[in-house]
């Protein structure tokens, strides 16, 4: 499987190359970046449904079960994440071609963007704890810089807050890794899981606590969510879409799920804690989102709430729960990116993000209005859009596992989300035109293309739950997480 390291090497190479050639020529940067993301997307599509493969860097194949080097693991879960990341990044780069004309230094923007993609791909593929930390830092540092890319007051302030909390999170994670190393003498996830074997002592639980708080900070689960409502709205719209759509999921939820389920083992206590965290995020996120006047802040709070669903499903630990959670993860990536791109288009056209100044935009911006309506209906869980199916199956999974309380909360939050998004639609796109709707600029073509593409995906994505698609895409990913410590058996070949 020679293709595996290229998932990281191609975006890295492009990121190093673009600032050298593209400083004077923004169109060249557009072209190179779009080619790179397109190539990554095609590569990700080409590995769907493949058997799990392990790639040992530098040819250090383990002898006598001792892994010497770093390994990359391409199993169902990694493939799932790679497809999600590359799908969103492809559509976002198409959008950025014309949106980012409003900013200077396009070459640096694209370089940082590709570094972020490379970091996320690295996190999704790696089978080594410390390597996970390194690539997590690449993605995080690139995102800190991208949040502050506009260099205005609130952007700098939001980025500083994000950076400080993000570094605290990274340090907690590194501490957790150090404790794990001190107990096992290894950094290879598979070897650690065979050494610990699911037998968690108090010190391991301490490491788990460090991991949950560290990755919880990165994923903005509720007690740790303070940075997200500042950071996500401040970034340029394509970056907001990437951050809410895939970054918090890859370096937060995916990494947490991988370490806790596959490496350390899920005990009933940990499972309960994760589910409670998910439920709190769900409820608090949607309540805070109701009162927002800034369209992007509104979407950011709703991200917290929707991520809560994913965490709840993963915390259940059953096959149906995990599969439904992953289904919701990719759905949320699609519709939240779409909604953030819509808000960017609205800001581009009207120059404001304040909902009180908008109104009646549907006639002025038909494409944005229509795609935003589709995105809102999908996130609110109206059939037949994709969001309905994933929420339904998360609730069913809760019922199946006899967690009726959690199921009730999930259903209730879904109703609140519907109310919140209908209100958003009414204030922004329907109703009487207000001052900002008067002078409206045209939304450029590349932005429309990517919004329409995402809106179509919102409708089509529901088909992923059909038996055929489910068997090739979702179930292999869910199986990896659900089988837990069996992870070691196919990585080390024992």
């Amino acid at each position: 499987m020679q293709i595996i390291p290229l998932f990281v090497a191609i975006p890295l190479g492009a990121a190093f190359f673009i600032p050298m050639v593209g400083r004077k020529n923004p169109r060249l940067c557009d072209m190179l970046t779009n080619i790179t993301t397109l190539a990554l997307f095609l590569m990700a599509l080409s590995v769907i449904g493949k058997e799990a493969a392990v790639y040992w860097m530098g040819g250090w194949i383990p002898r006598l079960g001792v892994p010497l080097g770093i390994n990359l693991v391409l199993d169902g879960m990694s493939i799932f994440m790679l497809v999600t990341i590359s799908l969103i990044s492809l559509l976002v780069t198409v959008y950025a071609i014309q949106y980012m004309d409003r900013f200077t230094s396009k070459a640096r923007f694209y370089s940082l963007f590709l570094l972020m993609v490379a970091g996320m791909n690295g996190v999704a593929l790696t089978g080594d704890l410390f390597n996970l930390y390194v690539f997590l830092e690449i993605a995080s540092i690139a995102s800190y810089a991208l949040v502050a890319f506009g260099c205005e007051h609130e952007e700098l302030e939001a980025s500083f807050k994000y950076l400080v909390l993000g570094s605290v999170a990274s340090t907690l994670i590194l501490f957790g890794i150090a404790i794990t190393y001190a107990m096992t003498g290894s950094l290879n996830m598979a070897q650690i899981s065979t050494i610990i074997g699911g037998d968690l002592k108090a010190i391991h639980l301490f490491a788990v606590a460090l991991f949950i708080s560290g990755f919880g900070l990165k994923a903005a689960l509720v007690p740790f969510h303070a940075w997200l409502p500042d950071a996500h709205p401040s970034a340029p719209a394509p970056i907001s879409a990437m951050l809410s759509g895939v970054l918090i999921k890859t370096i937060g939820i995916y990494a947490m799920a991988r370490i806790i389920l596959n490496v350390l083992g899920l005990t009933p206590l940990i499972s309960y804690i994760i589910m409670v965290l998910g439920t709190i995020s769900m409820v608090v996120g949607v309540l805070l989102c109701m009162g927002q006047d800034d369209i992007k802040r509104f979407l950011a709070y709703s991200s917290i709430s929707q991520v809560g669903y994913v965490v709840l499903g993963i915390g259940l630990g059953t096959r149906l729960g995990i599969a439904a959670a992953l289904f919701h993860l990719i759905n949320h990536a699609v519709f939240k990116s779409l909604l953030f791109l819509n808000s960017g288009a609205v800001e581009y056209a009207t120059g404001t993000r304040d909902l009180n100044k908008m109104g009646g935009l549907r006639e002025k911006l038909p494409v944005t209005g229509a795609t935003s309506l589709i995105g809102s209906m999908s996130i609110a869980g109206i059939p037949p859009f994709s969001g309905f199916w994933s929420k339904l199956f998360i609730i069913l999974a809760c019922v199946q596992a006899e967690r009726f309380g959690f199921a009730a909360w999930a259903a209730g939050v879904s109703v609140l989300t519907l109310a919140a998004f209908m209100r958003l639609q009414r204030r922004a796109f329907f109703g009487e035109p207000r001052e900002a709707s008067a002078a409206v600029q045209k939304v450029p073509g590349s932005m429309k293309v990517s919004m329409v593409g995402l809106a179509i995906l919102c409708v089509v994505m529901g088909l992923l739950w059909l038996p055929q698609a489910q068997q090739t895409f979702l179930i292999p990913a869910a199986r990896v997480l659900q089988e837990g410590l069996d992870y070691a058996s196919y990585v080390l070949g024992m």
Partner: protein, 158 residues
């Protein structure tokens, strides 16, 4: 008084002359650390930061104009990219079938097992060290220049 940390024209002639001499020694020492990184303590990172220190010393004692004339920011930025690309290319070369077929293969050592304790005994380690030293040295120089001289640069324009 406090804005004298980086004086535009540099410090006194005595300081300049001495540091000109010292700078050469620092550079040579840094290069030694890089090249023998696989045998003695040090390596690309240690050597790279030492080389960067030589430039920092020059900036501090001779002023920013002199330093930026020797090492313009644009060139430093390009070299930053070149160092990173070089390391990636060393890794990618290992992917080609003739040289081992995996990312990051130490193909030189495997093709020709050298005697230990020699300059060339580490295979690609030596090349990687050089690439990293280039990368680290230019990066640290850029960090220093940007963060320490930022305000001077802005002030000059006002």
């Amino acid at each position: 008084m406090v804005d004298d940390v980086v004086r535009p024209k540099g410090m006194s002639p005595i300081v300049k002359t001495v540091s000109m001499w010292v700078k050469g020694f620092i550079l040579v020492f840094g290069i030694y650390i890089v090249l023998y990184g696989h045998l003695t303590p040090g390596g690309g990172f240690g050597g790279g930061v030492i080389i960067a220190m030589a430039f920092v010393l020059m900036t501090l004692c001779c002023g920013k104009h002199e330093a930026l004339k020797r090492m313009p920011l644009g060139v430093a930025g390009e070299m930053d990219s070149v160092g990173a690309l070089m390391f990636l290319v060393i890794a990618l070369l290992g992917l080609s079938a003739g040289l081992g077929g995996t990312f990051f293969t130490n193909y030189i050592a495997k093709a020709d097992p050298g005697t230990p304790f020699k300059l060339l005994s580490g295979g690609t380690i030596l090349l990687s060290n050089i690439a990293i030293a280039l990368k680290v040295a230019t990066s640290l120089f850029l960090v220093f220049t940007l963060l320490v001289m930022l305000r001077v640069m802005y002030k000059d324009e006002r």
